[in-house]
Subunit: 193 residues, 2 copies
Amino acid sequence: MKELKDRILKDGKVLGNGILKVDGFVNHQVDPQLMDACGRELAKRFASVGATKILTAEISGIAPALTTALHLGLSVVYARKTKPITMPDQVYLTLAPSHTKGRMVELIVSPEYLSHGEKILIIDDFLASGATILGLARLAEASGAKVVGIGALIEKSFEGGRVALASLGVQIESLACIASLDDNKITFADLAV
Amino acid sequence: MKELKDRILKDGKVLGNGILKVDGFVNHQVDPQLMDACGRELAKRFASVGATKILTAEISGIAPALTTALHLGLSVVYARKTKPITMPDQVYLTLAPSHTKGRMVELIVSPEYLSHGEKILIIDDFLASGATILGLARLAEASGAKVVGIGALIEKSFEGGRVALASLGVQIESLACIASLDDNKITFADLAV
């Protein structure tokens, strides 16, 4: 998606160790118009998978999941990383390694909002190693729901997430696929921006 | 706002100790259409305050802040509660008590995204004691920005937040103002739903 790639080239910063800083428009400061355009595009790509609900992880998945949900007319559930007092004692919980925190984090969803027979579209800001998304898929499956698609704003293909997710057998879409951040340079997988 | 109040009466649950559970449509599962309608209404109410940016706190402030920002055509900054590795060493940081966590939490904003001369509209899901919003206002002021308005989806007027925020001298709006949760009953401040 040209609009997102252009913005990554303009405002993204390569911090080293495979880390791309996009907190000027995705995950600290958010550009709502860009996020809405991304949501519209993801909704278009997943229009025919029959999703009944969108699942994401707090915190930075919320914005793209919300705008995608707006365009698909679906509810969003965001997995919590700490259990709030409003959540029942029995929950779906799994662990996933956090790239930016350097430790395992919990992903928790209340059984009130994931149920058997639902068709889940997973949306997140990044598809990197795929570990967070695999965690979300485990939560969906634990509830008896079925994952029907996976969408991300930014894929770092050099971290192998698409391979890690292949066993789910669903459509995977990213709006900007980065093949390399070597030498502090952003190289997209398809060279045409 | 009738649509929000109706939904609170239909799906909100009073858990005792002044806690209203709205995680079926606000802060775990999110109803994007309702959130968009709330954002449109907040945007209308703050159309003339001259805001240049919206500030909120992760996690549950993100959805209403994003939809309000969409309708006002502004960027959103959400204060982080833990400092990600993508953030510079020098940050604006303040502490605020968390009602649902029962402890103090940090609110952190990068100086990259708050600056002198900006006019800040603070949006959050709840206005209860006002402590989180006061924390956001301190961050804005530390950067030299000026708070020009405060909006929340749900106000719990019995917790006194509006009084605590009065010294800021700005317009304060809530879309559903709850006067009491006594006897597990939701009573709105204006009795007409």
